[in-house]
């Protein structure tokens, strides 16, 4: 944990201890306890909004679920605070998973509308199912909170709330700072690249939704105990907007931002009461002002300004450079890998983009795949990396069938790829990009991440050493701490190769790696590809650049109209009449150029 964050946690803890000692009356303390509850919701919502980039405008619905679950358990079954909270958390978690399910199909605004719909459905189920919820009159008579039979005093309940918020903030911080947080950020910036590195994007989104739901659920149970009465009109769409605004105002993806945002938006309505009729208007105006003046939120902007004033070093520290000597690691699984495709066919509607392609990349070789525009090269790449499902045919590595597997599963089985139009995680640093590349090899679990166990520390340290080594291999150590999107184009291409290598692939798939590079850069790219192959990684190179292919390829396969028309050594393919015809047209039509060697 950085020193700044440690200080922040100390300050938060000090504040939480000081407030009850200085509170003048019960109303003041009660308001502060309301803030603690909202803070809990915001901290969880930040995992969803800040890290995973998904907007939920239905958080009040989850909050309501938790409230009703807690209240019903307490009133009807006499559950204590702990049982009621756990019950609320469990029910909220189930709905968190259910809410995550639509993200498989829809994102962005559509998802926002799904969450809005969810909130409205919960509100109306609470009205309709009056036997359980008390309908519009609500549930009253929620007992004072007690734990294991001991009744909690006002201060005791305060202690529970304060400790929960502090621990939740700490857990969220640890989550962000682990393989899970990194994976969430990666998924939010380029899902396709994250999947190509073995990250299960769906699992990450489910985790984020569950984190947001569990905290909101527990907060709901606490709320019902604090208020002793709940009714459907407490959980409306505008509350969902307020919860989201807490995260944005404080600073999405920051550790303390949501807590700060919750604090401001708990106390602000108290002050806005002076405006009387204008209260709601002022609230809307404030929301608009935040979006214009502080789109990154208070702490996000503060961090940005701090970076401007004291720019951190762009390169690596001396201690890190020590690790750079690792360099390019040998291939992960000893023996070199062979990729075989049999009759691979991809159809889009009536169009056959790839027709019964048979191709064999021998272990440890550099195999180039070429063909005119529209020949089906990209389709081939996307089919064997799992982006498209082949309509017919099969493919596999070393006899292991990969057909029908999903993108991240194929990646975990040893196939890494780069992209024609680079797909970096733009806002992550160069080093973080490579860390994401290597993280499907990590084995520590969620509990290790949340508790920062020694195992987590050890694995993260090893991952970092490997990543620094790869940065040294592609000569990017001087840029390690820069945001990836600020890199010049040529360096972005190299970073993508380092990131793909970090997954320790058996087969590296390079999709037009030389496009847009200078002659000099292509020269060093050729060296790099040779070194990768020498380390035992098979390379499939999709390229237009003839010089590069002639310089590095062991075998060249030519595609035209979705079919393999030649596959042999470069020199042979270069003189193949069918290849020449594919590129330059039929010799009959251009009589002058008919001297094609047969």
């Amino acid at each position: 944990m950085s020193r700044l964050h440690a200080l922040g946690f100390l300050a938060l803890a000090a504040l939480l201890v000081a407030v009850p000692l200085t509170a003048d009356n019960e109303y003041e303390l009660r308001l502060f306890m309301l803030f603690l509850i909202y803070g809990l919701i915001a901290v969880g919502l930040n995992v969803l909004v800040g890290l995973t980039g998904l907007v939920s405008l239905g958080q009040a619905g989850v909050f309501a679920l938790g409230s009703y679950a807690g209240a019903i358990l307490a009133v009807r079954l006499g559950a204590d605070l702990i049982t009621a909270s756990l019950g609320a958390a469990a029910i909220a978690a189930i709905f968190g998973v259910a809410l995550a399910y639509p993200t498989v199909r829809v994102r962005g605004v559509y998802l926002a509308v799904v969450t809005i719909a969810f909130g409205i459905i919960v509100e109306n189920v609470a009205i309709e199912w009056s036997a359980l919820t008390g309908g519009t009159t609500g549930l009253s008579g929620i007992p004072t909170p007690n734990v294991f039979g001991y009744e909690l005093s006002g201060y005791g309940f305060y202690g529970v709330l304060a400790a929960t918020l502090l621990l939740a903030t700490l857990a969220a911080h640890n989550l962000k700072d682990s393989r899970y947080g990194r994976a969430m950020l990666a998924v939010s910036q380029s899902e396709i690249a994250a999947r190509s590195l073995g990250i299960d994007a769906t699992a990450m989104r489910i985790l984020a939704f569950v984190a947001a739901a569990v905290t909101a659920g527990v907060a709901g149970a606490f709320y019902s105990f604090l208020n002793a009465y709940i009714s459907p009109d407490i959980f409306t769409f505008s509350d969902s907007v307020r919860f989201l605004l807490m995260v944005i105002l404080g600073g999405a993806a920051t550790t303390f931002g949501p807590v700060l945002g919750a604090f401001v938006l708990t106390y602000l309505p108290e002050y806005l009461q002076d405006f009387q009729l204008w209260q709601k208007f002022a609230y809307g105006a404030l929301l608009l002002t935040v979006m214009f003046v502080l789109p990154r939120g208070v702490l996000g902007t503060a961090g940005f300004v701090l970076k401007r004033l004291r720019p951190p070093a762009r390169g690596l520290s001396a201690a890190d450079m020590e690790m750079a000597r690792v360099g390019l690691p040998a291939a992960a699984r000893g023996a070199t890998a062979e990729l075989v495709t049999q009759g691979l066919t991809v159809r889009f509607g009536g169009l056959t983009a790839l027709s019964a392609a048979n191709l064999r990349v021998k272990g440890g070789e550099i195999h180039a795949l070429i063909g005119p525009n529209g020949a089906g090269k990209s389709t081939f790449v996307n089919a064997i990396s799992g982006v498209y499902q082949p309509s017919e045919g099969a493919f596999g590595i070393d006899g292991e069938d990969l057909t029908g597997k999903r993108q991240h599963q194929i990646a975990r089985l040893g196939l890494s790829r780069t992209f024609q139009n680079t797909e970096l995680f733009g806002d992550l640093t160069v080093l973080e990009n490579v860390l994401v590349g290597g993280q499907s090899r990590l084995s520590y679990g969620l509990a290790d991440a949340l508790l920062r166990t020694p195992r987590r520390r050890r694995e993260e340290r090893d991952l970092r050493a490997a990543a620094v080594g790869l940065l040294a291999f592609v000569d990017l150590t001087d840029h390690a701490k820069e945001a990836a999107r600020h890199l010049p184009f040529g360096l972005q291409r190299r970073l993508e190769i380092a990131r793909a290598l970090a997954a320790r692939p058996r087969l590296l798939l390079l999709d037009e790696p030389a496009a847009g590079l200078t002659t000099q850069e292509i020269g060093s790219l050729a060296d790099m590809i040779r070194k990768v192959a020498a380390a035992g990684v098979s390379v499939l190179l999709i390229e237009h650049h003839v010089d590069l292919i002639m310089a590095v390829a062991d075998t060249v396969t030519v595609l035209d109209y979705g079919q393999v028309i030649a596959s042999d050594r470069p020199g042979v393919v270069q003189n193949d009449p069918r290849v020449i015809e594919a590129y330059f047209g039929s010799p009959v039509a251009h009589g002058d150029f008919a001297e094609v060697p047969a």
């Binding site: 907007v55 639509p102 208007f281 214009f292």
Partner: protein, 291 residues
């Protein structure tokens, strides 16, 4: 039988309102890939201003005309202030929250001017109920779906035949290419927001005699309009129209046979269910990913 006919006709009326609101979402989304989350408040502005105009002694037609124009102006201004500054960003949080903010402000202003209670607009369309095979409906209720159908057809014609309509389609297809062809993209987006706001305010004026006009009427109608747009497939105007009418009828039946709360539960559950099965809506076009 009469009950079924009654529910169908009333359902078509409210469905026509949803269709008009959803048509606005369709127009905005097509050109800007962003929408006005306060679009329901455009409807509210149309309804509330019309009632206030009549209060001030204007004839109904003038009050309605002026309030529709005011709604259109609101749409154009909102696009300029709250949408355009944020459309360059990759995620949609920016314009979602900024348009919600404008909606909150509009609603608060309306509450102050109009008061916190609901009032109906007096229109000749609701003077006396007509008897249609035993079901009692107002002429106004029959008018709404007819207007929705006519405007959808008109929109289709405009998009095919007029220069502005073609420019709108070009912008919807590829903003940059349209700009290179000399289309003023900013102006086309502003026009599309204005046009959708005219439809929204028009829906407000049409529905104000049937349901009560109030400062808070916009939120739920707006959300349902958006739900309808998504169900129909936000890229398809006829799809949105059909979905809107069906949605209204479905709602009336659930409301009639069960309850108002059940109406909201069923309506929004249907939306989620449709999205899960048809992510691009019932009549929308699927967008393919390319890497």
């Amino acid at each position: 039988m009469t009950t079924i006919l009654q529910y169908t006709l009333s359902g078509l009326a409210i469905g026509g309102v949803y269709a008009l609101v959803a048509l606005g979402f369709h127009i905005m989304w097509s050109t800007a890939k962003a929408v006005n989350f306060a679009h329901g408040d455009t409807l509210m502005i149309g309804a509330v201003l019309a009632v206030m105009g009549v209060d001030a002694g204007m004839p109904v037609w003038l009050a309605c005309g002026l309030s529709i124009l005011a709604g259109g102006a609101f749409g154009v201004a909102l696009e300029r202030i709250a949408v355009r500054p944020f459309t360059a960003e990759a995620n949609s949080i920016g314009w979602m929250l900024s348009t919600i903010a404008i909606g909150i402000m509009a609603e608060s202003l309306a509450t102050m001017q109009f008061g916190g209670f609901s009032r109906a607009l007096h229109s000749p369309g609701v003077d006396r109920p007509l008897n249609v095979f035993g079901a009692g409906v107002y002429a106004q209720e029959l008018l709404i779906p007819a207007v929705a159908v006519a405007l959808t057809l008109g929109l289709g014609l405009m998009q095919k035949r007029t220069l502005i309509g073609r420019a709108m389609r070009a912008v919807a297809h590829d903003k940059r290419a349209a700009a290179l062809m000399g289309v003023n993209v900013g102006r086309i987006v502003a026009i599309s927001f204005g046009l959708s706001a005219l439809l929204g305010a028009g829906a407000g004026v049409l529905v104000a005699p049937v349901i009560q006009a109030s400062a808070t009427m916009g939120v739920l109608l707006g959300l349902k309009g958006f739900a309808v747009a998504i169900i129909g497939g936000i890229t398809s105007a006829p799809g949105v129209l059909v979905a809107g009418l069906l949605f209204g009828v479905l709602e009336k039946f659930v409301e009639g046979y069960i309850s108002t709360a059940a109406r909201e539960i069923v309506a929004f559950s249907v939306m989620i269910a449709v999205l899960l099965v048809f992510p691009q809506g019932l009549f929308g076009k699927r967008e393919t990913v390319k890497v």
